[in-house]
């Protein structure tokens, strides 16, 4: 693995990582459904950008594929699917319910970020052969944790789906730095996977909206042990 990458590329990737985190925070706390979706799109753009930077710095052709696939599925396909699934509700400036207040959840997010960092800290020294991993792996893990937290936090189906998708963004953001040579088959399959997941969940959201009249899932709490 090429350990002599330029500091410029490293810094650029670092900035993208910072943006990636901030946009993830946006997905978590944005009050409006459309806002959440936009933050997610921009985050996917950041993932694309990071993949491009890494592709150039590491001379890895397969990362170009990752960039292309990410862009076409997450920035173009997923929003289209969601707009179709949630219908006009996504344009409604309706506020998204949260289980916690935003200030509290933001603090939880900060704690999670530290947890992510400490979890990944013992791994970092062994990744010295892959300079980008020092930035991308913690960022990715944090985004996975944040995504999970977003899913738990939000009571709105579209926002929960966004949480799932930023988890996936996080997993890819972390892994493009360490595995820039996934076999092409795995990449294509992963690319097919994301739209399928989004499509099926979108269909489910559509059904929920048809049956319950809203895309809100916070009120669905009939099933539990008595």
């Amino acid at each position: 693995m090429d350990a002599t990458v330029s500091p410029f590329a490293l810094s650029l990737d670092g900035s993208i990582a910072a943006l990636f985190v901030v946009l993830g925070l946006g997905v978590m706390v944005s009050r409006q459904m459309l806002g959440t979706l936009r933050f997610f799109m921009w985050q996917s753009v950041a993932l694309t950008a990071s993949a491009l930077v890494l592709a150039d710095a590491l001379q890895a052709i397969s990362l170009l594929w990752v960039a292309l696939i990410t862009f076409s599925t997450k920035v173009i396909a997923v929003p289209l699917v969601l707009r179709w699934a949630a219908g006009e509700e996504i344009y409604g400036r309706r506020e998204v319910d949260q289980a916690l207040s935003i200030s509290a959840s933001v603090l939880v997010a900060a704690t999670l970020a530290l947890v992510g960092w400490f979890a990944v800290a013992p791994v970092l020294p062994i990744l010295h052969g892959t300079p980008f991993a020092l930035l991308n792996l913690p960022t990715g893990l944090i985004m996975v944790l944040w995504g999970a937290f977003t899913v738990a936090l939000r009571r709105e189906s579209v926002a929960q789906l966004m949480g799932l998708l930023i988890m996936e963004n996080g997993a890819f953001f972390g892994s493009i730095a360490i595995v820039h040579n996934l076999t092409v088959i795995a990449e294509i399959a992963a690319a097919v996977d994301v739209p399928i997941v989004a499509l099926v969940i979108g269909l489910l959201i559509r059904s929920i909206r048809r049956v319950t009249g809203t895309t809100r899932v916070g009120g669905m709490d009939k099933l539990h042990e008595r």
Partner: protein, 320 residues
Amino acid sequence: MTALGTRFALNLAQVAFLLIFAPLVEGVLHRLEEIIQGKRGPSIWQTYRDIWKLFGKDEVISEESTWVFRFAPIVAFVMPMFVVLLIPALTAYPLFFAFMGDMVAVGFLMAVSGFFVALAGMDTGNVYAAVGASRTHMVGFLAEPVFIMVFFSVSYVANSTIPYFVNATWGASWGSMLQPSHLLVILAFFLLILADEGRIPVDSAAGKVEIAMISHSKGLEYSGTSAALIKWGGTTKLMVLAMIFVNVLVTPWGLAQGTQWTAILTAIGLVLIKLLAFVIVLAFIETTLAKLRLFRISEFLSVAFVICLFAVSVRLVGIG
């Protein structure tokens, strides 16, 4: 002239630059916002005309008010001038007063001006002004931790809080410019400017409804010369913050390296261009976002806080 004398003169030039161009910055901002909204908007010189007109008007002062009311506009007008002495406005090298105070002092000077204006607001007995004063302080309290975190991260990165050194640290190379922590600090500081300057989404500068105002209702009682000073002071404050933002944080280049007049004039031109870019961004944000409800401001600032926390922890773990 001696070197010291030149630097002193340059310091004065900075103040003059601030006083002369501050109304223009605000005028351009107004015009741009109106254009984005699809209107023609007032001339970019309108703020100068307003200030000129106000200077020519009679002043009415409530009998109930005290000296605080008369004193506050002067403080509000003078403090940004003090601040500009401390920051790299035109030159990349430290000037005469540069070591008088650091970024904490900048924050302090701003706070003094805010404090007096708030006191003056309560002094008149005008209900809206008092409400505005208390709201301003609420925003201020919430912004305080963010301010502190910004200072932490800045000093952590640059090992100094003197604005000139911070500027030099970040301007050193592309590598240091693009550090994640730097980027995060920029973002957090921008959110702070929005909150501190009473811009959308925290407060609407163009709003005309007293009940919804936060910082702008404090000046309602002023007229004549005092009103002119308050208005002028407001524009210089915006410009000073914008200069800290663009010259120290975002684009720490383009400042004069020498003392020649040509270098200074080029620097003036470049700083104005940077300010224009800042104003364009600000205008876009102001026109595309909606004002937050009062109780949502804490959320806005808590996001800024976490971004700052991130900037510091990125440095702490040593990966940025």
